[in-house]
Amino acid sequence: MKSLGSIRRSFAPWADPASVPFIAVRNVTKKFGNFVAVDNLSLDIYPREFFALLGASGCGKSTLLRMLAGFEQPTSGEIVLDGQSLAGIPPYRRPVNMMFQSYALFPHMTVENNIAFGLKQDGMPKPQIAERVDQMLKLVKLDKFAKRKPHQLSGGQRQRVALARSLAKRPKVLLLDEPLGALDKKLREETQFELMDLQQQLGLTFVVVTHDQEEAMTMADRIAVMAHGKVIQVATPPEIYEAPNSRFVADFIGDVNIFDGTVSAAGPGAVEIATEAGFKVRLASAEAPAVGTKAGLAVRPEKIRVSRDKPSCAPLNAAEGEIWDIGYLGDMTIFHVRLKDGKVIKASSLNAVRAVEDPLGYDQQVWISFDENAGVVLKD
């Protein structure tokens, strides 16, 4: 079997203008009374994609998913699945299945009856049902638990039953609402990889809702970052992290330092910004904002160096400050450095050696600096 990485690397249908989206969400709005839960949202999801909806609690992720499943009707807009509009199609006639956050296992049925439920609704012949149920039980490694009721299972086992049940009908799309939300951290990390393997193995399209950015980054081919019912950015995990399209995304994913400033020069391939913190920054940038416009500059902590000596690039991309706080995490150390104007920035450095001679200490005067390609310009 090919390694995941190699498949992944070549998988980018969204970059190919000729590919046809499998699920197309077109200008969908959902209102509950006057409250707008999903706001004029459009998305394309491609066949066999592992797509994540990421956002803070209450931003409308579940509502979007429930519209895909058919439990909510869009107030306006349209959802198209495999070329067919889903408008007016009730949930029990949609070729998608959902794995519920609470698992929603039928408490009065055994594990195998839970898994067989959907197949029975389709009127599949009994021997075939038995065969499929067996297959699903093996897939999620629960063959020994077929005769148990849900309350006789642990949380992790229930999660697998829910997964097996939603996969049993071989849906075109599997919708997963916080699938790992109820598991503890360790189990969650293991299960993330299992879900990815399963998706590859079965060749299905997964749409997963999560509020956990690490989970989204680990599993998804692409992530849609949502806020207040809108999609802010749709991109691959590295793009989201390294090239956030807005202050919101930069701030939402991981740690970031944002410097406000004014564009002082813009040439081909590079921009110069005079920051309010009092130093000039020169960044590699494909786009050239007009001189004099306000701009933000985002730099991740791990891309900032802290040193006693004045860096060679100074005064560009460098500033003086003092060490304000030190957080030792084992694998790395976080420094909070207070610049001259009072702004505190975060820098992290990997502890690659066991014992550093003469480590940086509190209140020391230091320089921070970063490379020309370390930051991104945020226009908003």
């Binding site: 499943a69 058919g70 439990f71 009730p90 949930p91 029990y92 006639r93 998608v96 299945n97 959902m98 519920f100 956050q101 609470s102 929603a104 296992l105 039928f106 408490p107 009065h108 439920f117 959907g118 609704q121 389709d122 148990r148 009721k149 309350h151 006789q152 299972l153 642990s154 086992q157 049940r165 939603s166 009908k169």
Partner: protein, 271 residues
Amino acid sequence: MVTWSRFNIASIVFGFAFLYLPIVLLVIFSFNESKLVTVWAGFSTKWYVQLLHNQALLDAAWVTVRVGLISATVATVLGTLAALAMTRYTRFRGRMLFSGMIYAPLVMPEVITGLSMLLLFVAVGLDRGFWTLTLAHITFTMCFVAVVVQSRLLSFDRSIEEAAMDLGATPVATFLQVTLPVIAPAVFSGWVLAFTLSLDDLVISNFTSGPGATTLPMKIYSQVRLGVTPEINAVCTILIGIVAMGVLVASVVSRRREIQRVKDEQAAFAL
């Protein structure tokens, strides 16, 4: 940890003594040899034997049971529908009135319910008897069923219904295969409650029944007015015994199931 003080124990002991002493005394004196219910004259079951020869009483008992079975069954269907309507459809025209009609009978003085239903039957020209009695019992017991089933539905996890539909079950199939089996215990307790309420009712029955449809409480009442007798004590003891048995069995069964469930859960997490 919460402490159970002497005050707590005393309140419970006195409370339960107050609740149960009269009933216990009634039961004891049903086995009294003497015709006097307040002077103990030795143990005897003769009043029970005598009951078996009291044809009027046996007839009344038979009417009561028939009314109870029919009305409890119909009331359970209607009450369950009402509970579904109350919990599932939060907005429909006249919902306030509907919820009023569910809750009001729970507290409505029986004389009012009885009188008003009687006047309805007279107004539409229904002859009072077995069927008017049954209709009246259905009406007042269905509200109790509705409340019992409603409280189960409120704690019902709706996502299992969505899961059923997601897996291809139509709303009707979802109701029959998922909702109903899950709420079945509450529906059953609703039925038992409706049955015992029907069995016990005096006032509404007195208004709404007619010749040939005398129920046991009506019979007991007419005899009680003539004085306390061990024979009535014996009838009452049997009624209490039936109800107590039913409730005890039901609660022991549900207790067992609960204990089994907890054990199962512990076993699952021990894995």
